[in-house]
């Protein structure tokens, strides 16, 4: 066992009276990648924070965390400070908030180097340049004087990785390092991590809820649930055999396709011009040559800024009951387009018609009858509810769009009906949103969306904040409601598995334009445009990952 870098023995952790971890054992060898998988609340992040000894105040840990033979739990704070950032580096989930907004990236990378090595400012700067260059932020384009807000999410994550790897730690902990990034960036960041780990023979603890990501990266796998280790072993064989029922459940959920969809007949395709398929009955939604410009950044006080075109000449149409995915990388303009369809923003040019009526220049009261016909489901089931309102009020909110206001008892009845639609018990109505889990909250937000019996639901990344098994249930629900209420969906996502699971048609957006469209199966199996290919290639796929692992072995 001379190779063992980190050995966690019988680690238990309690915060106040709540048990967070119980009897966790795991081991990482030098140069090894250990994948830690589990759903939210399974204790993955707490395990990482326990290794770093950055636990919340009230936390109490017992057991042993041996790093190079010495128990981290018995180290003093000063000793831990010497280890953190030098021997153990950590990369966090959310690159948008992981960097100090008021300090330059150079300062933030150099800070750790200077603190640990006590080297001169010039030397620290030299090393900072080298590591930033190594993580793909060359001096010529990303000088040290850049501030975090001048970088994109992927670039910021590279800075965080540079901070963590600057002193070539022996152990790198990456807690959901790519969850907040789109698939193409995810693939790039994972490649970078893999290379850094190989170059420096680091041990890597890769934490993810996504089995496919871990399967591709990790030599060995630990599956956690409710603070306990369910199963651990060599990645390929563990996933191939799927002996443990929970591992099997996770694997199945991550490849889930709703049953209702599989049997769905192929629907008629819409024509490419975005015009009406038949002149008599206009399509449910017609987007016609829509353009949206934003004012660009002013370069000097007197010159007019060049506008930035977020959406560029987009046309398509949707029929009732049709389910369409709008996929693309972050920043491609898909959310801007969705905002315009929902009449939350006005296009600079072109028209958006709902059942033949142009919405693009209506405002306020005139939009009411149309708002009732289209509703929205947002990504974050935590942020999209007013925490001080009860579910009844939250779900009933869109009812003000109706022409005649229902009485109190009618209102309760309609809310109960909508909740039943999403398989929530009627008594949830009298509770507050914080009493529900993420999946339940997303059901409630779907209930809110269907209460006015809309024809169209725009869903902006509706499952990307959810765990795989919850995600599978919510996808089932979407599929079921599609059949039952003849709802049309516009799914906005960067996740191709979601598109594959529940949509008939897919449109790929790239730099404001729709570059490819067609039936979901066709587009995803034989992508023609470069942007589509990049998305398809980068998408983590569990079966492919296992096959690759087995062939390597």
């Amino acid at each position: 066992m001379a190779q063992t870098l980190l050995h966690i023995e019988n680690l238990s952790l309690a915060i106040g009276k709540a048990d967070i971890l119980s009897h966790v054992d795991m081991r990482i060898d030098r140069g090894e990648v250990l994948g830690l998988v589990g759903e939210s609340g399974s204790g993955k992040s707490m395990t990482a924070l326990a290794i770093m000894q950055l636990l919340p105040h009230a936390a109490h840990a017992s057991g042993r965390i041996l790093f190079d033979g010495a128990d981290l739990l018995t180290r003093t704070e000063d000793q831990m400070c010497a280890l953190r950032g030098d021997d153990i580096g950590m990369v966090f989930q959310e690159p948008m908030t992981a960097l100090n907004p008021v300090k330059t990236i150079g300062e933030q990378v150099a800070e750790g180097i200077r603190w640990h090595t006590r080297c001169s400012r010039a030397e620290a700067e030299e090393r900072t340049r080298a590591i930033l260059d190594r993580v793909g932020l060359p001096q010529s384009r990303f000088p040290l004087s850049r501030f975090p807000h001048e970088l994109s999410g992927g670039q910021r994550q590279r800075v965080v990785i540079a901070i963590a790897c600057a002193l070539k730690p022996r152990l790198l902990i990456a807690d959901e390092p790519t969850t907040a990034l789109d698939v193409v960036l995810q693939a790039q960041i994972l490649d970078l991590l893999r290379d850094l780990v190989e170059e420096n023979r680091m041990g890597l603890l890769l934490i993810s809820h996504d089995l496919a990501v871990v399967a591709d990266m990790a030599d060995r796998l630990v599956v956690m649930r409710h603070g306990k280790v369910m199963e651990q072993g060599e990645t390929a064989s563990t996933l191939k055999r799927q002996e443990h029922p929970y591992t099997r459940q996770l694997a199945e959920a991550s490849m889930h396709v709703p049953a209702a969809r599989q049997a769905a007949p192929a629907r008629p395709r819409t024509d490419d011009a975005g015009g009406n398929a038949s002149p008599e009955t206009p399509p449910l939604l017609a987007v016609d040559k829509v353009v949206r410009d934003y004012a660009g950044r002013r370069t000097s006080l007197f010159s007019r800024p060049a506008p930035f075109r977020a959406v560029d000449d987009v046309s398509f149409s949707m029929e009732p009951g049709h389910s369409v995915a709008l996929v693309g990388r972050s920043g491609c303009g898909k959310s801007t387009l969705a905002r315009m369809i929902l009449a939350l923003d006005q296009p600079t040019g072109g028209a958006i018609r709902l059942a033949g009526q142009d919405l693009s220049h209506l405002e306020g009261e005139a939009l009411r009858p149309f708002r009732r016909r289209m509703q929205v489901v947002f990504q974050d089931p935590y942020g999209s509810f007013n925490p001080r309102h009860k579910v009844e009020r939250l779900v009933a909110e869109p009812l003000h769009l109706l022409d005649s206001q229902p009485s109190r008892s009618e209102r309760r009845e309609r809310v109960a009906e909508a909740l039943a639609e999403v398989h929530m018990p009627p008594d949830s109505m009298d509770r507050y949103p914080h009493e529900f889990s993420g999946g339940q909250r997303q059901r409630i937000s779907i209930a809110r969306a269907v209460i006015t019996r809309p024809d169209l639901i725009v869903a902006d990344e509706p499952v990307s904040a959810l765990d795989v098994s919850i995600r599978a249930q919510i996808l089932d629900l979407f599929a079921e409601l599609n059949g039952k209420l003849r709802l049309a969906y516009l799914f906005i996502t960067h996740d191709l598995t979601v598109a594959r699971a529940i949509t008939d048609e897919v449109m790929v957006m790239h730099e404001g334009r729709i570059v490819e469209r067609g039936s979901t199966a066709d587009v995803l199996s034989a992508p023609r445009h470069e942007a589509t290919r990049a998305l398809v290639d980068a998408a983590p796929d569990l079966e492919r990952a296992i096959a690759r692992r087995l062939s390597r072995a």
Binding site: M52, L54, H57, E77, D78, C81, A82, L83, R84, G85, D86, G89, M90, F92, E94, T97, A98, L99, N100, P101, V102, K103, Q108, E111, G112, W115, H116, F147, H149, E150, V160, I163, A164, R297, R298, L301
Partner: protein, 315 residues
């Protein structure tokens, strides 16, 4: 950056203009004819009319406003009705007391509040935090004039360390002047410091929950260093905002405090001018105070940009 600066400046000037309209209008509607006041109750109606003519009081409102504003902008504040000297001389003479007093109080409150906020935030939830914040709560509740009286009793009457009031003038040496201003400054600063300490603490606690604090800790920096190097600067924006707003209260506070300590400052001048209906002095002093508050708030806006680089690139 230039655009941001110009915009802030323009907003400041507009606010000043608006304030001038209000000041002018309010003093227009308050009872009391300046001409009658100058000449006394026994003066004949003809004499009053003649003086009104001479002072331009019979001109239309707008004309008078414009003339007043133009004169004010060029530094001609008019002559005081009671002292019969140019207002500018009066103001200048008082400013050398009030300005050092305000700056001293501001400096004191900052020097007390920010370390106290840091101290409490670093020990959040522990006894030291509760004690510091309890003390701050008391500080918020104490009115500054009462604190002033208490200070006079303890330090001047009892310990005889400082004079109980009055101002020897800067001519008698720098330290004699500072010594006279010290107690009034403390009386002004403590209640302000109490509020500022609470704001600093809560801003820091919010910032300490941010992800980048965890990143900094993961680099191996000790808690103290993270607090000073990473948290403080991010917490500074709400602190600066409150400091800007407090400056106005500080000026209002000087009116009371200068009376308690018999300091010949602007606040006391204003108080006397109001009781004597010396409207020209009142107008000028109020406008000066308004201008000071606006200048301070423009400076606060500019300091935001110095603290937060994200504001520098925004239009």
């Amino acid at each position: 950056m230039t655009a941001y600066l110009l915009k802030r400046l323009a907003i400041g000037i507009l606010t000043l203009l608006f304030a001038s309209v209000v000041v002018f209008a309010v003093l227009e509607v308050v009872p009391g004819d300046p001409a009658r006041l100058m000449l006394g109750m026994n003066a004949t109606e003809d004499a009053v009319q003649a003086l009104r003519e001479q002072m331009g009081l019979n001109l239309p409102l707008v004309t008078r406003y414009v003339t007043w504003l133009a004169a004010f902008a060029t530094g001609d504040f008019g002559r005081s009705l009671t002292y019969s000297v140019p207002v500018i001389d009066l103001v200048a003479e008082r400013l050398v007391v009030s300005l050092p007093l305000a700056l001293l109080a501001l400096a004191l409150s900052t020097v007390i509040a920010i370390p106290a906020g840091l101290f409490a935030a670093a020990r959040r939830g522990r006894f030291a935090d509760t004690a510091t914040m309890g003390l701050a709560q008391v500080g918020v509740a104490i009115p500054n004039f009462w604190l002033a009286l208490l200070l006079v009793y303890v330090f001047a009457v009892w310990l005889r360390l400082v004079p109980a009031g009055g101002f020897p003038g800067w001519g008698n040496g720098f330290w004699a002047g500072i010594k006279a201003l010290l107690m009034p400054a403390v009386a002004l600063a403590l209640p302000q410091a109490a509020i500022l300490a609470r704001v600093t603490r809560s801003a820091l606690i919010e910032v300490l929950g941010e992800d980048y604090i965890r990143t900094a800790r993961a680099k191996g920096l000790p808690r103290r260093r993270v607090l000073w190097r990473h948290a403080l600067r991010n917490a500074l924006i709400p602190v600066l905002t409150i400091m800007g707003l407090q400056f106005a209260f500080l000026l209002a506070g000087t009116i009371i405090i200068e009376n308690v300590f018999y300091l010949p400052g602007l606040g006391r001048l204003l108080f006397q001018a109001i009781t004597q209906r010396d409207l020209i002095v009142v107008e000028s002093v109020i406008m000066l105070l308004v201008a000071a508050v606006i200048v301070v708030n423009v400076l606060v806006d500019l300091s935001y940009a110095a603290v937060d680089p994200r504001l520098r690139t925004r239009r």
